[in-house]
């Protein structure tokens, strides 16, 4: 059986919406962060699949993926540092405890 581009796109779309769902419903900040990673990875799959199947002559999509991976690593590093800082201040990382600033 040949694996066409649609298979990759279905996977990446499922990952995107799983990520959005997780971002909204998860109670733990680390789980929220993992959901964001799911979104970013779905983008990477998209880029690579488009580049491989639609525009095999170029490298733009591959390069974009490399940069996106690097940038998302920075984002995760900063986010985890901030989450650790929150943990030091209030001794847990549940989203519901971040309620001091509100209307």
């Amino acid at each position: 059986m040949e694996i066409t581009m649609e298979y990759y796109l279905v996977i990446s779309t499922i990952m995107l919406f799983a990520g959005i769902y997780g971002f909204i419903t998860r109670r733990n900040m680390l789980a929220v962060l993992i959901s964001i990673e799911l979104i970013l990875n779905s983008v990477d799959i998209n880029f690579v699949a488009f580049n491989r199947f639609l525009f095999p002559g170029q490298m733009e999509g591959f390069f974009f993926t490399l940069f996106a991976i690097g940038v998302s690593a920075c984002e995760t590093a900063v986010a985890i540092a901030i989450i650790i800082n929150v943990y030091r201040n209030i001794r847990n990382i549940q989203v519901k405890n971040l309620d001091k600033l509100k209307d």
Partner: protein
């Protein structure tokens, strides 16, 4: 292609030079010489601003990755001036007990966000744009969480980084769909491939979320009030003017250059967003007591007005948008300067605390009054002219109903800005804030802002000069 391409990155290189010098100074400077760190940083940054004061010719470098336009250079200069004022106002906070030990990082992180905005402004490719966007927003989260022993700042940082990462993820998904439908990421090649298919419209909607988030328009504004309230006041000032101004300008250039063919679609989106943003933010601003939160909602509604320049899509729109950013920046920084110094000396931040401020601090309350009048758009201050031009730009394209709604909202905003003025000048208070003596840096910044608020509107040459560099669709 040779190394000569780097010559087109004049602003970026001189900013990197400032950053490196400050970093080396911070690491190797003796304890005694570090006393001069802040003045040296201010002088170096002033030199950088003066060096790049005037726009250079339009140019292209690195095979179209970097596109410099004279208008982009002007926006960079405006951002430089704003950052300089923020830097002047930051001194008190940076020299306080809790922050002093890691003061050096502040400059480096601040300037790297500015560098990210430079790249964003002169990007000619979605890859460059994305790197600039992330470079501008990730360090901002660090700045928002800078006071690491305070619960408020930790919470603000966490909220900012999580929602910023989410928004940039969605934005990236949009870019990937754009790549899939067109096969290129260069701004110069894209318009020929954008034909308005359904998938492209969806891609555009996903992509725009990232920038709408950055300039905090209403369905994407939920982080704004919390982050502005929790972050240190200096950082709030930076967030509310510099990163918002850069975001608005970049949104405009990308809509013009890349999505010019989808103008009907994005006009509809912008129309709805403007009405929502201005109205909702104004209604929420009325019921705020905390001044930083109040200014957060005020800045959301100002972002709605800024978008009026985008929707027009013509040269006048671009001129008035840049002019609006300049005026809004100066007025807002004046207010943040005043509340920053008062918060630092007395810890008071609610509107009720400001009752009777005029009795004890006549000059500070006068500056704040001028700036609030300018934000509300009362003539003859600069804010009136910027609002007038931006309304004119939208009306020129026939958006009369939209301009009417915006005008009505100006009246609402006048009400809540005047509430603060009333608290300062009319309300009685038995225990007003004691007399605050500001340091030289804050004084310089406040005087500069006051002159700007009055002069920017009266000197028409500034606006006309901006007009010669702008371009439409």
């Amino acid at each position: 292609m040779g190394y000569s391409n780097f010559l087109f990155l004049k602003e970026e290189l001189s900013l990197i030079a400032v950053m490196v010098i400050l970093l080396v100074y911070d690491i190797f400077g003796s304890k005694k010489s570090l006393n001069y760190f802040h003045p040296v940083a201010c002088v170096l940054f002033l030199a950088h601003t003066l060096l790049n004061l005037f726009p250079s010719e339009a140019s292209e470098a690195f095979g179209g990755m970097i596109i410099n336009t004279p208008m982009g250079d002007i926006v960079k200069t405006i951002l430089n001036v704003g950052t300089l004022i923020v830097l002047l106002q930051a001194r008190n906070w940076l020299h306080s007990e809790a922050v002093l030990i890691r003061r050096g990082e502040f400059y480096f992180i601040l300037f790297s966000t500015l560098l990210g905005m430079y790249f964003m402004i002169s990007s000619g490719n979605f890859l460059m744009f994305f790197i600039g966007l992330e470079m501008a927003s990730i360090p901002t989260a660090v700045l928002a969480a800078y006071d690491k022993y305070k619960h408020d700042t930790a919470e603000a940082g966490a909220k900012y980084i999580l929602s910023a990462a989410f928004a940039s993820g969605l934005s990236l998904y949009g870019i990937s769909l754009i790549y899939g439908t067109t096969g290129t990421l260069y701004f110069a090649d894209l318009p020929a491939h954008i034909d308005g298919s359904t998938l492209q419209i969806m891609a555009f909607a996903f992509f725009a979320v990232g920038l709408f988030f950055k300039i905090s328009l209403v369905p994407f504004h939920l982080w704004t009030a919390d982050v502005y309230q929790g972050a240190p006041t200096t950082v709030t000032a930076y967030l509310s003017v510099i990163s918002k101004g850069a975001g608005a300008f970049v949104l405009m250039t990308i809509l013009y250059k890349v999505f010019g063919n989808l103008i009907d679609e994005w006009r509809t989106i912008c129309y709805a967003l403007i009405v929502l943003t201005i109205t909702v933010a104004n209604l929420f601003a009325i019921r705020q007591q905390n001044l930083k939160r109040f200014l957060a909602y005020s800045s959301i509604s100002q972002a709605g007005y800024i978008l009026l320049g985008v929707i027009s899509g013509n040269e006048l729109g671009m001129t008035s948008l840049v002019y609006y950013i300049l005026v809004y920046m100066i007025s807002n920084l004046a207010i943040f300067g005043v509340i920053g110094i008062i918060e630092h000396r007395t810890g008071k931040i609610t509107i009720n605390d400001y009752n009777g401020l005029y009795k004890t601090n006549p000059r500070l309350s006068f500056v704040m009054m001028l700036a609030l009048f300018s934000l509300a758009g009362i003539p003859p201050f600069a804010g009136f002219f910027s609002k007038f031009f931006i309304f004119a730009a939208a009306a020129q394209e026939g958006f009369y109903v939209l301009v009417l709604i915006a005008c009505l909202n100006t009246i609402i905003s006048l009400y809540y800005y005047l509430l603060v003025v009333k608290a300062m000048f009319i309300n009685k208070n038995d225990t007003p804030i004691e007399t605050v003596h500001s340091d030289a840096y804050t004084r310089i910044s406040l005087v500069a802002c006051t002159i700007g608020v009055i002069a920017l509107g009266l000197i028409s040459a500034i606006y006309e000069q901006l007009g010669t560099f702008s371009f439409g669709i």
